[in-house]
Amino acid sequence: MRTRSRWFAVIPVALLTLVGALAWGVSAQADDGDDLTGGGGFTITVTVTASPTPTPTPRPSSSGSPSSSSSGSGSGSTVVVSSPTAAPGPSPTDYSIGGVLYVSGLSTQYVPALNPFGGHVNAQFSVRNVSSTPVTSRVQFSLDGPFGQRLSTVGNIELRRLMPQETRIVDAVLTGPGQWTFTTARFTITPVTAVNGEQLEPLSRDSIVFFVPWFVLVVGLLGLAAYSITRWVRADQRAPRAAVGEYS
């Protein structure tokens, strides 16, 4: 009977997983354009245009490359804005691709802590200015839980004067992942409203951060161990009485 009930328990779980994966994939396909030039219904964009080839700009001094640090307004989270390892500036192999700002995706790393409500997520992205003038932007990081609740925010960080052809790395520490297991880290970069007459809009990137909820697992394992030990001890206590009963 136990085997039977186990099978009946497994089937719905497996079936739900399969149906969920299929439905999710199909819905994702439905709302996604396939053209190479964008399309789709997203409203968060950075306006880029096929601007004429900008004239080469002077290479900023490598030692004096702009670098700034600032702290966000989040709960104990920090942000570091650092220069790239290589000196920015056009080299003989550089070329113009047009547009103004280009960003990478968001890279994340979960760092656990002994405090079950602690831990943090290191988040990092790169931004590159391909226009011919310095661009100043503001960046906001956030970390959301599996139900969309905000776990931490680091906001209003100024990314000062990103020089032409410069790539800068922005690194933030997002606190509060706790034991939420599935969290979403996100950043939004808001450039100045216009560069060289081009209107710019905020741009967001996100990343799913999965980690093992160690505290929940430990509590579960301890509970299982306590249950097993209790069962074993009680079975051991019952066994002699049963034996006496058989021979009496």
């Binding site: 089937i11 199909v26 996604d32 799913i208």
Partner: protein, 288 residues
Amino acid sequence: MLPLAPLTRTQMLIQSASAILAALLIGFLVNLLVISHLQHAVSQQQQRNVFREQLAAGTAPVSEGTFDDILLVDGAPVALLDIPSLGLHEVVGEGTSSGDLMLGPGHRRDTVLPGQAGVSVIMGRAGAYGGPFSRLQELAPGERFSVVTGQGKQLFEVIGVRYAGDPAPPAPKAGESRLILETARGPAYLPTGVARVDAELVGESQDAGARRTTFDTLPPQDKSLATDTRTAWALVFALQFFLLAEAGAVWTYRRIGAQKMWVVFVPILLLAGLIVGDQLNRFLPNLL
């Protein structure tokens, strides 16, 4: 506890059918989450052997056809993608359907090969079958990577990452070459959209080879996040094979014995489960 009443014939039938269904679903998940990665590794080794041989012989494809003008079959190796910062070293096959991307990243048929003048698109899975493009969004603007094709080693520089709906960089000018790497975004195995990395060729572009496929004639199952139901008939046969094997196992268990049944039928049932799982996976989005 009171003893349970024996099952009726109907209940036994439901129990057996449920057990078979559960075995199939569990097999499907194991295939997707575990075995698919092994299949990808094996496919890549085979692809690499073929492509190295073609490069050495100078017969690696530079168009949609082979060197003797025969249309490339789905999955035929066309390039070697090397992104050191991601630890990615994959052979790219021709075609981007769900089945093609089981082998590794795939080149979309209606676009030029990487390094040729124009726009080239390479798609890759983010989760299953090795998830070769799972870390694609970590590429930073300005990073460089290479693609080896039949026309030599092509060096690309990353422009940036964009999601569907974001404006693309300005179209490449005549003679310039652009490469777009595409994968799914969102949680692993649960895609929520498409992420694209644009990259620009550094240096001189190559001549574009002839293409028979255009965007209008590109099969729908080769587009982003598309599913492939062309081989649904094969799934029917695979399921029949699985049921026959299971019936044979039950008959052997009753007539000959458990030990011999296990020895003979475990490999057969595993094979049947693998075939069924493989066919089911083709119904899932190609970038998953």
